[in-house]
């Protein structure tokens, strides 16, 4: 049975969205030389603000500002750089609620996630890397580690502020300066972060934010005076970037797509596993590169897992992202919704069985109910392609070897999950799975101390942890 909940909306009065935003270059907000675009609330389709679209000339100004700032920033003692990062971490905590509400409005994610997951990890990430700034000699990445220079960073719309933190915190700690392009549909928290940089008195030009779409991103990546490219997004764009930087000295890290297997063995604690499956695929509307989008369940418990999963899915609450009881918020954009619908329709036409709980969806905005497909084979497109939405493909297996084979049967290799009571089996499976992160009896856990990144076509390089420093220092790999 489903409980009736009264609406419990978080107040949006805490945020002050301006009618229009410029670019953040050299410590100040400036008008772009290009056109502008609208950013909307995906839950209501209301326009939130007009945002400048940075042209190639704007990007050039930002890179020049970053280059000028690099001299001072890289020569500043690590001890002093650290204090700026600690300041930023503290302001992020102080303004945490404001950031969470703004993130939910611009992105569509439930407030309980932006408030309890995104923003706390963002602050923790700055706190973690702040401490590294004056300890780089101890990172085991070679003697006298040196920053690369100007980092060009392009981030996606699924975790706008979190991806910003993953990019900016290690870059600054290592003494680099940055030009960051937030995603076209979610620019607002990056612009609020720019204000935070001002409040922290961060030297001008150390952080530059250029808003825009794909062409702005290309200008950042392709700029000849950018020494480092860090990208999180689709595998197709990642490949294009790898081609674009070929023959240059630019150091590159790519955090790309995934099609993670979440493997449930017959000895797993089923209720706990069901929670993990739900969190694995429906967290953040499934807009997660490491989402557990392929459930591999051992045949002997498949019926039981599925019936409990369906029951649990029936209690998920889809709706207003600002409602504190909401489990699944809005799909980020009309374009993404169309993609999810298209792949789901293909799943059905290829013969898989589609199921979603009865679910009242709001009349405006972009919504998609939590959905599972059963009777899925490895050849089905919904088992091979990244849906990036709340859509789970269910496959079964009999032996651990079959589970490994199916789990690894993908060009991706970002993450995987293993559910079993047997510790030795966890470690065996972890060693066999070709994925950068393996979660045992949990899923979608993130921590600044824990490196994150992919094998194969999920990209290269790591973010987070000691390994995350290597992406922003000369010479070092891991």
């Amino acid at each position: 049975m489903a409980f009736e909940y009264a609406p419990a909306p978080e107040s949006r009065s805490i945020v002050d969205i301006k009618p229009s935003y410029g670019l953040f270059i050299d410590g100040e907000f400036v008008d772009g030389r290009g056109t502008s675009f609208k950013t909307i609330n995906p839950a209501t389709e209301e326009t939130l603000a007009e945002v400048a679209e940075a042209s190639e000339a704007d990007v050039d100004l930002a890179v020049k500002a970053a280059r000028r700032a690099f001299r001072g920033w890289s020569r500043m003692s690590g001890k002093e750089r650290a204090k700026y990062l600690f300041r930023i971490a503290r302001i992020l905590q102080e303004r945490g609620r404001e950031l969470a509400v703004l993130e939910s409005i611009d992105n569509g994610k439930p407030i309980k996630e932006s408030r309890d997951v995104d923003v706390p990890i963002v602050a923790a990430h700055f706190f973690y890397y702040a401490g590294w700034a004056d300890k780089l000699d101890y990172a085991g990445l070679g003697p006298n580690p040196q920053p690369l220079g100007v980092a060009g960073q392009v981030i996606p719309w699924n975790f706008p502020l979190l991806m910003l933190a993953w990019k900016i915190a290690p870059a600054l700690a290592c003494g680099n300066t940055v030009v960051l392009k937030p995603a076209e549909t979610t620019p607002l928290t990056a612009l609020l972060f720019a204000e935070i940089c001002q409040q922290a008195d961060l030297p001008p030009g150390v952080v530059n934010i250029v808003t825009g779409a794909g062409s702005t991103g290309q200008a950042v990546v392709g700029h000849p005076d950018v020494d480092k490219v860090a990208f999180t997004g689709s595998t197709d764009v990642g490949k294009a970037i790898a081609r674009a930087v070929a023959g240059t000295d630019k150091k590159v890290t790519l955090e790309l797509g995934g099609k993670a297997a979440n493997i449930v063995f017959d000895d797993a604690p089923i209720d706990q596993a069901v929670e993990g499956i739900v969190g694995g695929i429906f967290f953040n509307q499934g807009h997660v590169c490491c989402a557990g989008s392929r459930l591999l369940v051992q045949e002997s418990v498949a019926d039981e897992v599925l019936s409990r999963l369906k029951r649990r899915m029936g209690t998920l609450r889809v709706g207003d992202p600002l409602d504190k009881n909401t489990d699944i918020g809005a799909i980020n954009s009309a374009e993404q919704l169309a993609r999810i619908r298209e792949l789901s329709d293909i799943g059905e036409s290829e013969g898989a069985e589609r199921w979603a709980p009865p679910c009242d969806l709001p009349s405006s905005g972009f919504w998609f109910p939590p959905t599972i497909f059963t009777g899925v084979t490895q050849a089905h497109r919904i088992a091979r392609e990244e849906v990036f939405g709340p859509v789970l493909s269910v496959l079964t297996f009999r032996t651990p070897a079959e589970a490994v084979e199916k789990a690894n049967n993908t060009p991706y290799g970002l993450s995987a999950g293993v559910w079993t009571e047997k510790g030795s089996r966890i470690l065996h499976m972890a060693s066999q799975l070709r994925a950068g992160v393996v979660w045992a009896n949990t899923f979608n856990k993130f921590d600044p101390a824990s490196p994150f990144g992919g094998y194969k076509e999920s990209g290269y390089g790591r973010e987070g942890g000691r390994q995350g420093l290597a992406a922003y220092l000369k010479g070092a790999d891991l």
């Binding site: 790898a242 070929a246 101390a449 994150f452 194969k456 290269y460 942890g465 891991l478």
Partner: protein, 289 residues
């Protein structure tokens, strides 16, 4: 009457066997003064593909060996090479046109390099892996794993020391290799493959093709079952290196870029030749009662 010597046929090394090129082609190898020495097999696109298949087949077994065992086998390669020093000295002298003393120095350094890398087998994970103190009830650790099948365009000038310096780091970390030797100086590589074949290195772990990096490189760089590529063999050829890097992007191969010129192979290596071809895996293991 003087005895007529029995000459060796120089062949490819694929999957632990010594086939000729499937193309039937060979090319003349001369010494540094241009005098004919031998015909080497001219590897083709098909040989590259066969070598990748052999490498992939060997990958899981080699990665699954204990680090201790891999270290032992690398050390064994050094032992067998040491045993054949005069032969390698002659091959290097002939190929590179250096004095006997210089050639001896190259061979000594190559053997020593193998010993150096052998010792890394069970230490690299301790140096570049670590436990991560996450804010939750998990044992979280990160350790390197092999990337998989690595294409290696071996150096053109340093026919033995350069070769050993790029092959040893790839395999000691648990990867398997498809190597394209120096084109003009391939014979030490062929003799090296005979050492591999008698050093307990499982067939397919190292495959050595003699031929032209400019011809074979594009097939290797574009091969969708190759996980990474070392472009050192096209050092100095920016245009070719760039096109290979572009081809490698098709499946996001890890690329060790070509330097502007061949490095000084006598210098003590750092970890970069190993870390270029490992993946950091992070495992979250729950803690509870």
């Amino acid at each position: 009457m003087a005895r007529i010597d029995v000459r060796k046929t120089y062949k490819l090394y694929i999957g632990g066997a010594f086939p000729r090129s499937e193309s039937g082609h060979s090319y003349e190898v001369t010494d540094s003064k241009g005098k004919f020495v031998a015909n080497a097999a001219l590897a083709s696109r098909k040989d590259v593909r066969d070598a990748v298949v052999a490498a992939r087949k060997a990958a899981a077994g080699w990665a699954g060996r204990t680090a201790y065992n891999r270290g032992q086998i690398l050390y064994r390669i050094a032992e067998v090479m040491e045993d054949r020093r005069p032969q390698f000295e002659e091959a290097v002298r002939q190929s590179e046109g250096v004095t006997a003393a210089v050639a001896r120095g190259q061979v000594d350094a190559a053997v020593d390099r193998l010993v150096w890398y052998a010792g890394w087998a069970d230490k690299l994970a301790q140096v570049i892996g670590n436990a991560n103190p996450v804010a939750g009830p998990f044992f979280n650790h990160t350790a390197p794993e092999p990337t998989g099948v690595v294409g290696v365009l071996a150096p053109q000038e340093s026919s033995l020391l350069g070769l050993v310096s790029v092959v040893a780091p790839v395999v000691v970390t648990g990867n398997v290799a498809v190597v394209v030797s120096s084109y003009e100086r391939p014979l030490p590589a062929v003799t090296f493959s005979e050492v591999l074949a008698t050093s307990d290195v499982p067939g397919g772990v190292v495959n050595i093709l003699t031929g032209d990096a400019a011809t074979l490189g594009p097939w290797l760089a574009a091969h969708m079952d190759v996980n990474a590529i070392d472009l050192g063999g096209v050092a100095g050829d920016t245009e070719l290196a760039t096109s290979l890097e572009v081809a490698a992007a098709d499946n996001l191969k890890r690329v060790r870029r070509a330097p502007a010129a061949e490095p000084d192979w006598a210098a003590e290596p750092d970890l970069s030749a190993m870390t270029a071809f490992v993946e950091a895996k992070t495992v979250w293991h729950p803690i509870g009662i």
